[in-house]
């Protein structure tokens, strides 16, 4: 269980970035969404102990996270620039170093994420998207109980995005995965979504409830589609991705 209790945070005296953020999450894939600059990355850095809030506390599996030292061995964090996480020098070396999870074999993750062709490449030879996918693979292989990811699907094509979602869903059964993302195609695959706006979590619910709520700040084709489906009495969650995409194309 990961709990945040009444987190207040500001960088300078002028403005509070987070104003009384509280949530409690258990195993599963959880997403933090919100407009740019709303404090998603700040919240993530508070969770990992990188920033100390002015008020409030983070408790992960009964351990109070006061600083980054408290999170060592409990969490792994992939920043939005995955280059800062990958130690390489080759993809293979990075993944071997990371392999600590007895429940997840290296070959399994290589298969799920389709990393076979890039295993011998150097980290700095990889494209931005490939770096993201290798960083996610490394994070999964660490086997920590909490995985924290900042914008893991940024700049990824559909294929890579699906692979990342598939891999994260695979491990979300017995771990807490927190993702800060505005990628709505990713968001809809999560177990719960926290909508962060104006320094507060204005909604914490099922992705379809959040995406179709009035509070949701983005006007997106997918959001409009979900609303139409809702009005028609169809729960889009139960439809397969192919059908959803087919209808979306027809509608938009």
């Amino acid at each position: 269980m990961l709990k945040a209790e009444d987190i207040w945070f500001r960088y300078s005296k002028e403005r509070w970035i987070l104003r009384g953020v509280s949530f409690a999450i258990d195993r599963g894939l959880h997403c933090i969404v919100g407009p740019n600059g709303c404090g998603k990355t700040t919240l993530i850095r508070i969770i990992i102990g990188g920033l100390r809030p002015q008020h409030g506390k983070i408790i992960a599996f009964g351990r109070r996270i006061k600083g980054i030292k408290d999170a060592v061995g409990l969490m792994v964090y992939v920043p939005s620039n995955p280059t800062m996480f990958l130690v390489g020098p080759r993809v293979r070396d990075d993944l071997y170093k990371a392999s600590r999870d007895p429940n997840m074999s290296l070959s399994e993750i290589i298969d799920v994420l389709g990393l076979k062709d890039i295993m011998e490449k150097r980290i700095f030879e990889l494209s931005e998207g490939q770096r993201h996918i290798v960083a996610v693979a490394s994070a999964i292989l660490y086997g920590t109980r909490i995985i924290v990811l900042d914008e893991p699907t940024i700049g990824l094509d559909r294929g890579y995005r699906s692979k990342i979602i598939e891999a994260l869903r695979l491990v979300a059964k017995n771990r807490i995965i927190i993702v800060a993302s505005n990628d709505l195609r990713f968001v809809k695959k999560c177990d719960t979504v926290m909508l962060l706006n104006d320094g507060k979590i204005v909604m914490h619910a099922d992705p379809y409830d959040v995406l179709s709520s009035r509070e949701f700040p983005f006007d997106d084709k997918l959001v409009r589609f979900i609303n139409i489906m809702r009005k028609m009495g169809l729960p889009p969650k139960e439809l397969s991705d192919d059908i959803v995409n087919l209808i979306r194309r027809a509608l938009c």
Partner: protein, 238 residues
């Protein structure tokens, strides 16, 4: 030796509207040079006076917190150096050496924290420094907060990965520095390509949003700094 995470956070600042920030960069540069001369030629009292001046300057510029973070980030280096100095020299000389390093560090940190890179470029252009040198200086300063941000992210990610010790033991520091340098080089390459694509540097004269002014405060602080050097230099004259 270095707490890279804290050191990087030191230089992530927003521009503030204080008399120090609004001082002409050249006056600040000359002032810093005078203070450096004072701490090199001066005795312990001179260094303490310079230290007090710089601390007052930092307080006016509202960067005291950053200066404290800077000193905290290099504490292991300072402690090691202090121990060595006290072993090899007399207590007075050791104190002078330590104070010189601390005060010198604060002078540089204060200059970086309070100088906008565009202002510096404009000031250097005013004294006919070649464009290439101005651009190199400007982009080096511009890169500091970006690299600092990278370093912070990298430190956090690598500490949680178990590659870097959270207790600042040098273990893993090379991995982190390698990552930061490699990433900085990549950033520099992208920046160079972008600048080339924008025909940057083609025009002989650039336009700037803000016009630099020599403020009353800037002149006063330069005079104070000059006085410190003159007073201590004259103390040694026959």
């Amino acid at each position: 030796m270095l707490d890279v995470r804290k050191l990087s956070e030191t230089f992530i600042v927003r521009r503030k509207d204080t008399p120090i920030h609004n001082t002409h960069p050249l006056l600040k540069m000359f002032g810093a040079t005078f203070l450096f001369v004072a701490i090199i030629i001066g005795n312990l009292q001179a260094i303490i006076v310079v230290f007090i001046i710089v601390m007052i300057e930092s307080a006016i510029a509202k960067v005291l917190r950053n200066i404290a973070m800077f000193l905290w980030s290099i504490r292991i280096f300072l402690i090691t150096m202090g121990i060595l100095a006290f072993i090899f020299y007399t207590p007075l000389v050791a104190t002078v050496i330590l104070m010189r390093v601390i005060t010198g560090g604060i002078i540089v940190a204060c200059f970086i924290l309070t100088t906008d890179n565009m202002d510096l470029a404009q000031a250097l252009e005013g004294i006919k420094v070649p464009q290439k040198i101005i651009m190199a200086t400007q982009f080096a300063l511009r890169m500091i907060p970006l690299i600092s941000k990278d370093a912070t992210e990298s430190a956090e990610a690598l500490i949680l990965r178990g590659e870097v010790s959270p207790r600042f033991i040098p273990q893993g520091i090379t991995t982190m520095l390698a990552l930061i340098i490699a990433n900085a080089m990549e950033r520099a390459q992208y920046l160079a390509e972008a600048l080339e694509a924008k025909y940057f540097g083609i025009a002989k004269k650039r336009t700037y949003i803000r016009k630099l002014k020599i403020t009353k405060y800037g002149v006063i602080q330069l005079i104070i700094k000059m006085m410190v050097v003159i007073m201590w230099a004259s103390a040694f004259l026959p």
